[in-house]
């Protein structure tokens, strides 16, 4: 791989000469990232006439900037309105929204933006300098290893449901059941579709996200006049630039946290088919696991915002590595980028870094520049955007319902999806009113189908031998780590109890 200082500096200069384009692309990316139902893939498809007409370097700068910005934008509505813009920012709701309700929305937004930037930049830098080694990870992450990684995410159901374990587990299992709707992953046999062709490809995640989070949240909002608590309202009304600075300080007090959760995202992103939602949930679960105060997760703490945001932006770097290094797109956006690069005659795979190293490494340089640009464009906005929560709920709730229903309709254009969204809105509302955790339900819906696909595939490869799950060294290490992570809370509790008994004695 022909990496040199002059190559990198050339790419930096090229990106700086297109700074105006990066500003436009990142602005579009942040907006569509924050809107449920809209994503980077369908936006880039709509803009294909532009990307096919310009030089490939310019097209890549535009697409990569928009792609990473959409990952960053997803956290905005998660934090302020408890409405994730996409699956990757669903975990951000867990602590982001409680922070906003406490009047710390501005700080939470800054945490989200800084963590996204640090996670994205660190992983982009790692990708530049360690690309051959990072790309090799894909050779060790197969279906068996993915099963264990997904189980890490699924164990989060038990964590988020800790205040009422039985109801939480019921919600999680309900989510897994909903996730099992659709054609099976081997023979495409429809299951639980009630004959609706709209469900053959599974329950659309956007309908669940918007229904369970946005619609039910809007219904809850209508029961009071404000999203904020009384003290939160006072704090938000008095907020100034000081809170933005506080957010920056809070972020950099947790620099290592941003880095290692970003790396989790990078590693998961490399696996084709795995996405930002897995990365965010697994990073949140790991962050909680190794925290000295796990019980505070879910109440609105900075680490709970940093972990998923840093991870889903780290995942953005990882997503593009299979495309560049082996020529196989890891996700939908990467697949659309492949169209553009193929059209421009760019040979992907190992030859890319011999024939066109500028494009290969240029992708990560664009990421670095785009994140730096976004920090300057987003941080000043936090003071104003965070005021969104001051809008009285009788005004805010109908706007949320109207906008998000458009988002539910947009991806597939089915009226069916609107009804489905309203149904999930009702389910979400009932869950909230009866103490069933909606995040536990969502984890099941998001991770369940991926878990099933990987389990079925691993079993099929092995000829239905269940021992296949313990047949790979990397998988076994991950199993040990999973067992360890499940045991840690009990060990910590036992040690605390023992210490308390000794003190009492």
């Amino acid at each position: 791989m022909n990496l040199s200082l002059s190559l990198l500096s050339d790419q930096f200069l090229l990106n700086f000469s297109y700074l105006w384009l990066i500003v436009i692309a990142t602005t579009i990316g942040i907006i569509i990232g924050a809107m449920p139902g809209f994503g980077s893939a369908n936006t880039i498809i709509m803009l294909l006439p532009f990307t096919l007409a310009v030089d490939v370097e310019v097209a890549m700068i535009f697409m990569v900037s928009l792609f990473v910005a959409s990952h960053m934008g997803g956290g905005i509505t998660s934090i302020l309105l408890n409405i994730p813009g996409n699956g990757g920012s669903a975990a951000t709701c867990l602590d982001g929204y409680p922070m906003a309700r406490k009047g710390l929305g501005q700080q939470a937004l800054v945490l989200s933006f800084v963590a996204s930037t640090v996670g994205g930049m660190v992983t982009a830098l790692m990708s530049i300098f360690l690309l051959p080694y990072i790309a090799r990870l894909a050779f060790y992450m197969h279906s068996v290893e993915m099963v264990v990684i997904l189980l890490f995410g699924i164990t989060l159901i038990a964590s988020v449901a800790s205040d009422n374990m039985l109801k939480g587990l019921i919600a999680g299992f309900l989510g897994l059941l909903i996730g099992a709707i659709g054609a099976d992953h081997i023979y495409s046999t429809p299951r639980g579709t009630f004959g609706f062709i709209e469900l053959y490809d599974g329950v659309p995640l956007i309908a669940v996200l918007i229904g369970v989070f946005a619609i039910s949240e809007a219904l809850i909002m209508m029961e009071s006049t404000s999203v904020l608590s009384d003290t939160g309202r006072q704090m938000m009304q008095q907020s100034s630039w000081k809170e933005t600075w506080e957010g920056v300080v809070m972020s950099f007090q947790r620099t290592w946290h941003m880095i290692w959760t970003g790396i989790i995202g990078l590693i998961i992103g490399i696996v084709p088919g795995a996405g930002a939602s897995i990365a965010a949930f697994v990073a949140y679960q790991q962050s909680r696991l190794y925290s000295k105060t796990p019980e505070k997760y879910g109440t609105g703490i900075p680490e709970g915002v940093i972990a998923p945001e840093s991870a889903n932006n780290g995942c953005a770097s990882g997503d593009l590595i299979p495309l560049l290094v082996i020529g196989v797109p890891g996700g939908t956006t990467a697949a659309v980028m492949l169209i553009v690069m193929t059209y421009h005659g760019v040979q992907l795979g190992p030859r890319l870094f011999i024939q066109n190293p500028g494009i290969g490494y240029g992708v990560f340089i664009t990421m670095l520049v785009a994140y730096a640009v976004m920090l300057f464009t987003t941080l000043p906005l936090t003071r104003w955007v965070s005021k969104l929560v001051l809008i009285p709920t009788p005004v805010l709730a109908p706007i949320i319902i109207a906008f998000t229903l458009v988002g539910a309709f947009a991806p597939r254009g089915y009226m069916f999806d609107l009804w489905l969204t309203l149904l999930f809105g009702a389910i979400g509302y009932i869950c909230r009113k009866t103490g069933f955790n909606v995040v536990a339900l969502l984890i099941g819906v998001i991770l369940g189908p991926m878990l099933e696909a990987n389990v079925m595939r691993a079993l099929r490869i092995s000829g239905n031998d269940p021992w296949v799950f313990f047949s790979s060294p990397v998988g076994n290490i991950l199993w040990a780590a999973l067992a360890f992570s499940l045991a840690i809370p009990s060990i910590v509790q036992w040690r605390r109890n023992r210490a308390a008994r000794m003190v009492a004695a």
Binding site: A183, V328, L348
Partner: protein
């Protein structure tokens, strides 16, 4: 499942040309006066999407209209076809861009609500893409004979994008003819299937040739399911399967094609005529060669097929699928 092809159905797709002179002047005037809606039954960025966009770039010159795309992947293409038949108007403005081989195998092996050719017909095809088996560069298999020999000792795993696929039938036919054991592993998409073979999760990959050409040295092609290898320089001169092993396996190719509603043929023969004629004109346009190759399809694979040849191909794939049904579906 068998296709009940009566004389009416066979002639249906070509009927536009016959009936056009009798069509009303009102119907013929101004078509198309708005963009055509293209439904793709696979994901965005996939092989069909790339080929359709390249083709339509030239087709729009002759047709005088632009194209708007929507994607309905799922259940091996079934979702897209169901949506096309049941939710898209039969007015000549809605077309489906698909792949005859995989999607007729899907039609034959899955429980679908539509009927072919009563509900839709293929109007023309644009290429012929052969099935291949390839392995990753680190694989110990240097030739198809190596794989067959090993397959007699243990089951060989081959990744595929979806079970209902000509390459799957090719591999199963190969196993039947040689006595090797093969297990097909569907990955739900071409990208993950190729990745699994490159990274060594499976022994090899069975897929269409054009989708694997960009992999360069990472893929070693072992065999091609056709009587000749039409792109030897791009496939390390992999031998045709029957030549290498003395088998009699039929050609296993995909044909990307456009489909329209059968009702459109009856109601708007003038529109169908215009679609057919302009579709054919694209192949003589020198610009098409450039855009097709840019989209990753070697020019050797580009080949115009009329409605009748599409019908014939569809029928053959349904018959093949019927033969291998127990291995391609959950229904034993």
């Amino acid at each position: 499942m068998s296709i009940m092809l009566n004389r009416r159905h066979v002639l249906l797709a070509g009927a536009g040309a016959v009936f056009a002179p009798f069509a009303s002047a009102v119907q013929a005037a101004g078509y198309p006066d708005k963009p055509l809606q293209v439904l793709i039954p696979t994901g965005e960025g996939g092989g069909v999407d790339q080929a359709a966009r390249a083709f339509n770039r030239i087709w729009s010159k002759y047709l005088g209209a632009n194209f708007e795309y929507s994607y309905f992947p799922g259940a091996s293409g079934q979702v897209g076809y169901e949506v096309f038949v049941s939710k898209r108007e039969a007015d000549g403005y809605n077309i489906l861009f698909g792949n005859i081989g995989p999607e007729m195998i899907m039609y034959a092996t899955q429980k679908v609500k539509y009927k072919y050719p009563q509900d839709f017909v293929y109007l023309g095809s644009m290429d012929v893409d052969d099935s291949v088996i390839w392995v990753g560069s680190g694989s110990k298999f240097k030739t198809i004979q190596d794989m067959v020999e090993e397959g007699k000792k243990r089951e060989i795993t081959l990744s595929t994008s979806r079970l209902p696929h000509p390459s799957t039938i090719g591999a199963l036919a190969l196993a039947e003819a040689t006595g090797m054991k093969v297990r097909m592993i569907p990955y739900g998409g071409g990208g993950p299937a190729r990745s699994a073979a490159i990274t060594g999760e499976v022994d090899g990959c069975a897929t269409f040739l054009s989708s694997s050409l960009g992999l360069g040295d990472q893929a070693r092609f072992l065999t091609v399911f056709n009587e000749t290898n039409r792109a030897p320089e791009l496939t390390n001169n992999a031998p045709p399967v029957n030549q290498a092993l003395g088998t009699k396996i039929p050609q296993m190719s995909g044909q990307r094609a456009i489909a329209i509603h059968a009702k459109t043929v009856e109601a708007y023969p003038d529109r169908v005529k215009k679609l057919s004629e302009t579709f054919k004109q694209v192949f003589a346009d020198p610009d098409y060669k450039a855009v097709a190759e840019k989209a990753g399809t070697p020019w050797e694979f580009i080949q115009y097929g009329d409605a009748a040849s599409c019908q014939e191909s569809a029928k053959e794939f349904v018959e093949l699928a019927d033969r291998y049904r127990p291995l391609l579906s959950a229904t034993k």
